[in-house]
C-alpha cells in the first residue's frame, strides 16, 4: 500500500504534501489532516524484498521511543501506523534550521558556538533525564528553532532503558555516523549517555575548526582510531580558539567515558560560564600527543570500556549541579557556618557534583553616592572574595566549583533564574529567622525559592535549643510547637 506515494495520497486521514526528504531509509512528507492544526511530517520507511531489515528495525525503534519522550527538545509524536501493514510515523514539524545548514554557511563566532553548544547540551540533558540516549548526534539531527532552542530529530538509533534495545544484537546495522560516534559505540555499547557527550564534542570541534576531529573513517580500523588517538587540538587548526573552549571540547572527546563530562548539564554550565572553566593541560595543547603518550592511551583503551549498569537518569543524577545561596552581605550571619556544614554533607554523597556558590547583592552600588564602573567591579570582586573564603574550608577541586556574584534587586528571582538556566538539581539556602529584622528579606527569599524552584530545595536552619520554641514570642512559634506536637 505504501509503495507508491505521491503528494495528494491519503493515509489514515493524513494527506501527503511535499516530499522533503528521500533517503536510503525512506521518505519524509509534509502532511496535513483537517482535524489537526499543527504542522506535521510523515516518515515512511522503505519496504520490500531488496530493502535491508535494519531500516525497519530503526523505524520500529523510533516508533517505540518517540512516544515516550516529552519536552521542548524532541518533536511531538502524533501517530504511528501499523508496523505490519502501513508503517508510518507522524510527528510535529519543527520550524527552524538544521545545524548542518548553519555550518554550511561558514565558520561561527565564538559566542554563536557557545550559544548553540549550550542549547544542544540542554537538549541532551533533557533526553538523558528521561532515560534515553540519542546515539546519533550530528549536525543533520539538530534543529535550531528561531528562539535558540535545540530540538533533536531522528531517534532511529536511539536507546531507551525502559524498552528492549532492538538494535543491540543486530550485526549489520550502522552503529551511528562514523565521524561522530564514541569509542564505546564503536565497540558495541549502546547504554552510556556519555556517548552523546562525545558526539557533542565532535560537533563543537566541527563548529570551531570546520573540520572533523577523526575525519570520515570508512573502515572499522579507521573507526577504532578514536579509542586511543587524540585529535589535533582545535587551537592548532583555528588560531584564536580560547583555552576554555578547547578545554571543554577535548574533555568531551576523552576516549575513556569516565574522563569526560559526566553530565551534559555540566557541559552547558561551562559553555555558559567560560570564566568558571578550570583549565588543565588540555586547554593549552597545541599539537597531538607524542608517540609514547598515544601508545599509553592505546594500552589503557584496550580493556577499559565497562558498560554502565545504571539507568541513564540515575547515571546523570549521580553528577548533580548543586547551588548554594550564600549571603555575603552579612558575612557574620550565624547561618553561614551551618550552611557550610550541610553543603559539605550533601557534596559527600556524590563524587561527580558541580557546586555553584551564588551570592545575590543589591543592584546599583549607591553605597557612597557614586555608581561608576570601578565601584561596581570593586564591590563585585569583594563579594567574590567573600564567597571564595566561605567555600575554602570545603577543599573542593577547582573543576567542581563555580563562584557567582549576581547583582539584582530581587534575590529570589535571581536565584531561581540561575537555577533554572543551569540545570541545578538542588538548591541549598539558609532559613529565615523571625527575630532577625536586619535579614527580614531572607524570609521572602527562602519561601519564594522553595515555592517556585523546579528542583529540590534544602532549607538550612541553625539548630536551636529545645526551649527556644516555647520561649520565642509570636504566633509563628506557636504554630511550630503545634507541628511538633509538644505538650
Amino acid at each position: 500500500m505504501l509503495e507508491r506515494l505521491t503528494p495528494g495520497t491519503e493515509i489514515d486521514g493524513y494527506r501527503l504534501g511535499e516530499c522533503i526528504h528521500s533517503g536510503a531509509m525512506g521518505h519524509i512528507f509534509r502532511v496535513t489532516r483537517p482535524d489537526r492544526f499543527t504542522s506535521m511530517i510523515m516518515k515512511v520507511p522503505r519496504l520490500g524484498r531488496n530493502q535491508p531489515a535494519e531500516g525497519l528495525i530503526s523505524f520500529e525503534t523510533e516508533a517505540t521511543i518517540l512516544p515516550a519522550l516529552s519536552g521542548p527538545h524532541v518533536p511531538r509524536f502524533v501517530a504511528a501506523g501499523d508496523l505490519e501493514t502501513t508503517p508510518y510515523l507522524v510527528t510535529e514539524w519543527i520550524e527552524g534550521e538544521s545545524l548542518d545548514e548553519v555550518l554550511k554557511r561558514g565558520l561561527l563566532r565564538a559566542d554563536q558556538i557557545q550559544g548553540i553548544g549550550a542549547a544542544l547540551a540542554d537538549a541532551l540533558h533533557s533526553l538523558h533525564r528521561q532515560d534515553a540516549i540519542h546515539l546519533d548526534i550530528k549536525p543533520d539531527n539538530v534543529i535550531l528553532k528561531p528562539n535558540g532552542v535545540a530540538v533533536l530529530i531522528d531517534f532511529g538509533l536511539a536507546h531507551h532503558a525502559r524498552y528492549p534495545d532492538l538494535l543491540a544484537q543486530e550485526e549489520r546495522f550502522a552503529a551511528g555516523s562514523a565521524p561522530y560516534i564514541s569509542p564505546e559505540q564503536v565497540l558495541g555499547t549502546r547504554s552510556d549517555p556519555r556517548s552523546d557527550i562525545f558526539a557533542l564534542g565532535v560537533v563543537l570541534y566541527e563548529m570551531v575548526t570546520g573540520k572533523l576531529p577523526f575525519g570520515i573513517p570508512r573502515t572499522m580500523a579507521g573507526m577504532r582510531d578514536r579509542l586511543w588517538l587524540d585529535p589535533v587540538p582545535p587551537r592548532a587548526r583555528a588560531a584564536g580558539v580560547p583555552p576554555w573552549l578547547q578545554e571543554i571540547i577535548l574533555r568531551c572527546l576523552e576516549p575513556h567515558a569516565g574522563a569526560r563530562y559526566q553530565s551534559a548539564a555540566h557541559v552547558a554550565f561551562d559553555l555558559r560560564h567560560p570564566e568558571q572553566v578550570a583549565l588543565t593541560e588540555r586547554a593549552g595543547k597545541s599539537r597531538q600527543n607524542g608517540f609514547l603518550a598515544q601508545a599509553r592511551r592505546w594500552w589503557i583503551a584496550r580493556g577499559d570500556h565497562s558498560v554502565p549498569r545504571r539507568l541513564p537518569n540515575v547515571q546523570v543524577g549521580a553528577a548533580p549541579v548543586i547551588m548554594v545561596a550564600v549571603d555575603t552581605t552579612h558575612p557574620h550571619d550565624e547561618r553561614l557556618p551551618a550552611l557550610q556544614r550541610v553543603t559539605g554533607q550533601v557534596l559527600s554523597l556524590s563524587a561527580e557534583f558541580r557546586l555553584a556558590c551564588v551570592s545575590v547583592i543589591s543592584a546599583g552600588p549607591m553605597v557612597e553616592g557614586r555608581s561608576d564602573a570601578a565601584t561596581t567591579s570593586g564591590i563585585h570582586l569583594e563579594h567574590l572574595v567573600r564567597l571564595r573564603h566561605w567555600v575554602a574550608p570545603l577543599h573542593l577541586p577547582p573543576q567542581r566549583l563555580a563562584l557567582h556574584v549576581i547583582m539584582s534587586a530581587n534575590p529570589a528571582d535571581a536565584l531561581l533564574e540561575f537555577a533554572h538556566r543551569n540545570h541545578v538539581d538542588m538548591i541549598l539556602l539558609g532559613a529565615p529567622r523571625p527575630s532577625q529584622h536586619a535579614l527580614a528579606w531572607w524570609r521572602s527569599v527562602a519561601s519564594s525559592v522553595t515555592a517556585h524552584a523546579h528542583c529540590s530545595v534544602h532549607v538550612v536552619r541553625v539548630p536551636g535549643q529545645r526551649g527556644d520554641i516555647e520561649a520565642a514570642p509570636g504566633g509563628a512559634s506557636q504554630d511550630a510547637a503545634g507541628d511538633e506536637g509538644q505538650p
Binding site: A53, E54, I57, E60, T64, L83, E84, A161, R162, Y163, P164, D165, L166, A168, Q169, E170, E171, L311
Partner: protein, 262 residues
C-alpha cells in the same frame, strides 16, 4: 508423550483482555493474595499460573484451593517440577527442598494432590504458550537462563509469545532478525510493547520466593490487545509468610530466604 493441548474456549475472550501471569507461588498464600488483588486492580480478566504452586511455603492447601477455583473458571494452570515431585519424589532435589515436598505431600488432601497430578506441562492458546520451564522439553525442567535457552524454548513453542517461570528472575527475551534472542531486564511498572511480528519469551518472576534481594512478590500482566507486557513487584507481609514456615516446622533456611528475598 508430553501433555500438551490447545484451549478452545477460554474465559472472557475478546478485545482488551489482560492476562495475569503468575509463576512459582511455592505455597506462599500471602504473596499470592497480594498479587491477585494487584492484578484485579490492574484489570486482569484472565489468569495463568505457570507452575510450582507448591513447595517451600507453609500454605500448600490454601494456594491450591485458590488456584483450583480459578481453574474452574477457565484459568490456565501448568505443572511445575515441585508440583510433579509431590506425586513422585524427584532425585535431583536437595535435602531442604525434598523435606518441604515430603511435608507438602503429607498435609495436602488427596483431591488436591490429584489436581496437581492432572495438570498439563504445557498449554498453547493461539499466539501464546504457557510452560513452567522450557517448551523445548517441559518434562526435563531445563532452566531458561540464557538467550540460547530462550531461543530453543521459543522456537519449540512456535508461538510469538512464551510465558514461563522456574527461573525466579524477571527477564524479557526478544528475538532479533538473525533469530538470536537477547535479554532485557524490565523496569517494574513500565509497559513494554511486544509486537507479535517477533518472538518474545517472558520469565515473569516468582510470586512466592523472589531471589533478587527484594522480598516483594513478582508477576506480570500481559495486555493482549495493546500487545504490551508490564512486570510488577508487589510488597506483601513476607515476614508473616516466613513466620508460618517456621511454625510449620519446615527448614528455617526457607523462612530466611522468604524474609530476605534470596
Amino acid at each position: 508423550m508430553i501433555a500438551s493441548l490447545t484451549i478452545k474456549n477460554g474465559q472472557n475472550k475478546g478485545a482488551g483482555l489482560v492476562i495475569a501471569l503468575l509463576a512459582d507461588v511455592h505455597s506462599n498464600l500471602e504473596a499470592l493474595s497480594a498479587c491477585l488483588a494487584h492484578a484485579n486492580e490492574g484489570g486482569a480478566g484472565r489468569y495463568a499460573f505457570l507452575g510450582d504452586l507448591v513447595g517451600y511455603g507453609a500454605d500448600p492447601q490454601g494456594v491450591v484451593d485458590i488456584v483450583a477455583r480459578y481453574a474452574a473458571q477457565g484459568a490456565i494452570v501448568v505443572k511445575g517440577n515441585h508440583d510433579a515431585a509431590v506425586e513422585k519424589r524427584a532425585g535431583y532435589m536437595n535435602d531442604t527442598t525434598t523435606e518441604a515436598i515430603d511435608w507438602t505431600r503429607k498435609v495436602l488432601p488427596e483431591d488436591r494432590k490429584a489436581f496437581l497430578a492432572r495438570l498439563p506441562l504445557c498449554l498453547r492458546d493461539e499466539s501464546m504458550c504457557f510452560v513452567h520451564a522450557s517448551a523445548a522439553s517441559p518434562e526435563r525442567w531445563h532452566y531458561v537462563d540464557s538467550p540460547a535457552a530462550a531461543q530453543k524454548s521459543a522456537e519449540a513453542a512456535q508461538t510469538p509469545y512464551t510465558f514461563s517461570g522456574h527461573v525466579h528472575d524477571q527477564v524479557l527475551y526478544y528475538q532479533g532478525t538473525n533469530g538470536k534472542m537477547s535479554a532485557f531486564r524490565p523496569l517494574q511498572g513500565s509497559p513494554v510493547s511486544v509486537r507479535n511480528h517477533r518472538r518474545w519469551l517472558a520469565l515473569v518472576g516468582s510470586v512466592g520466593q523472589p531471589r533478587d534481594r527484594n522480598p516483594a512478590a513478582a508477576y506480570a500482566l500481559f495486555d493482549t490487545s495493546r500487545e504490551q507486557i508490564t512486570f510488577h513487584r508487589v510488597p506483601y507481609d513476607h515476614l508473616a509468610a516466613a513466620r508460618k514456615i517456621r511454625q510449620a516446622g519446615l527448614p528455617a533456611s526457607i523462612a530466611y530466604r522468604v524474609e530476605m528475598g534470596i
